[in-house]
Amino acid sequence: MALLIAFIAYITSNAIANLKLLGKTFSFDFLAMPAHYDINQTLIEYSSKSTHFRAGVVGILNTLLVAFWGVILATILGFIFGILRLSPNWLVSRIVYCFVEFTRNVPVLLHILLIHGIVVHVLPQPRAAKEWANFGDAMFFTNRGVFSPMPVPEAGFSWVIGAFVAAVIFAFFFRKWAKARLDATGKPLPVFWISFGAIIGLPLLVYLVLGAPLTWNIPELKGFNFRGGFVIRPEFLALWLALSFYTSAFIAEIVRAGILAVSKGQWEASSALGMPRSRTLNLIIIPQALRVIVPPLTSQYLNLTKNSSLAIAIGYMDIVATVGGITLMQTGKEMETMIIVILFYLTVSLCISAIMNWYNQRIKLVER
């Protein structure tokens, strides 16, 4: 303990001496100064006149954006691959095996660069995209990004959203009521299909009754690039796809191991009780598999978030590229910027861990 304190005191005194020698001060004043650099993808308003602080916020939002969508796509793909890997179909499980092994054993940075290279070099220029990477004159795949129509809500669209919210609330209570009925009378209801129909059907009905209060802002070719519509930039696209593919290979293995961990006797016992296969899966197998799947899944989500810091290699402006990159270069505040970046990642990691631990507690088997 004394050694540790002595060590910390020693490196702190060294740091102070070094900073003094270089004529630098330890302060976070630079955050209020104008940043003087542009960021190509921003979720909030930002210009080169904005402060370093705002640049940092833009970077944080970009990190969170790619992590959020990456987690979603990786989970979906991972579960699909994991289940297909266990398929009795030999051909399908072999294909998935090859994909998973190849993806897992290649560095994620290489995935990012490879996909970025493909997006930039293989997809056409915007002008050429009009000819061949064109889906119904509305969606264009170009090397400057994917351009798709953007929905523009008109007056009355809030009713549709209201209907959606109402349907979700209805589904929630319907589920509770159906469960109570099942417990009381033993009669099951097709809860999933009824809730699904309500959540999709009600907003659709309102939408059609109000006369489709939604227009689409369709991208148009103006000069050298498309204007309007919704743009997914190539850097984001490459990073998102690479992180999702890479992580999905790991998730596939986790899902496979989780399902295999449920013993065969559980299947047999449940079918001996006369349960249909779907209910066996829902009520017996998946709850037990999830217990095994969730803890390693959490660390995969954390890995994905941390790997998003590799964005700097292809110029996606996340927190490491803004605060830890350009701001560091401009201001020379290595210590302060690095502390900000590290604290950000620690916070995100702890938050994801906390959320997943809470979920893990919920699905844990209650042992009596």
Binding site: M1, L4, I11, N14, A15, A17, N18, L19, L21, S87, P88, N89, W90, L91, V92, I95, E101, F102, R104, N105, V106, P107, V108, L109, L110, L113, L114, G117, I118, H121, V122, L302, K306, N307, S309, L310, I312, A313, V320, G324, L328, E334, M335, M338, V341, I342, Y345, L346, S349, L350
Partner: protein, 373 residues
Amino acid sequence: MSDAATTERYEVGKHPELPPPLLASGPIYWVRTNLFSSWYNVFLTLLGAWFVWSIVPPLLEWGIFDAVFEAADRAGCQALGDGACWAFIHERFKIFIYGFYPEPERWRVIVAFVLLFVALGPLLFDKFPYRGKAMLFSLAYPFVAAWLLLGGFGLTPVGTDQFGGTLLNIIVGVTGIVISLPIGILLALGRASDMPVLRMICVSFIEFIRGVPLITLLFVASTMLSYFLPPGTSFDLLLRVLIMVTLFSSGYMAEVIRGGLQAIPRGQYEAADSMGLKYWQSMRLIVLPQALKISIPGIVNTFIGLFKDTTLVIIIGLLDILGMGRASLADAKWAGLSTEVYLSIALFFFLFCFAMSRYSLYLESKLETGHRN
């Protein structure tokens, strides 16, 4: 099944032998059960076959049949065929392997690489001839390798700034792997210890390392570490990177080993105590052998992860194989060949990492003593 054979009456023991049922074995049976057992399996099979058909032939055509292996530049490639241009990889191969390591001294890298396998052999395989004596060489290997690569004592000195390509990946990977295992074991024991202060220090170190991306640690190594040293001192960038990579992977290693430690039943600890073993004795003789055995898959996974993470050094400007590949893309003579370069590098990593994961399977089956339920 022929009806005649089953309806006719025979005396006991006189029944003629029936042919095996046609559809219970053999290739047709296999195809039926594995590919066409139900309507959705037929659908999946057709989908899979279509997928393979649409991916594999074009890929082979691009990568092998239409590819160009010898050409002077990109234009020469395009003149000879419209597939991949492997001529570029062919030309840059040496640079990808050695980086800027001086040409006449490259035999030293090869010797060090071959000796690496000689040193690894007795550690990895227990049937290695003269294992005991070979182990001594394994212990001496790090010094031999450092002498061979860095020079001095009769060899021309080579600066670490000239290291590059796969050489750099292997140096960073192997060093990280070798040093992080003992540190990881110590951290895991510290985390499981009864002393609250030691436990707290270990927990916060591990959680800090695991909560932060490796890139930020490498940035710290390249920009900030010198602040914490006595004024005026500075040391080699590669060394700083090695320290950071080792610390990083020992954090992960500690967690893997902690899992193994927790899986050991309490009775083992208590039995060791009641035998009168001291803490280190009981750890060395009773607990760690079992715990490490359980954690082998996790340990190898950490190694694989670490080896893949060695590519991140390009972010702070070291030129490993990926860095060399990326830098060579800037050559105007060979513009636009990123797919070829990245795919060859991917193949390199795939071979190494896949071999490691196979080795872990081998080790698992070898150490499986049947005690697990």
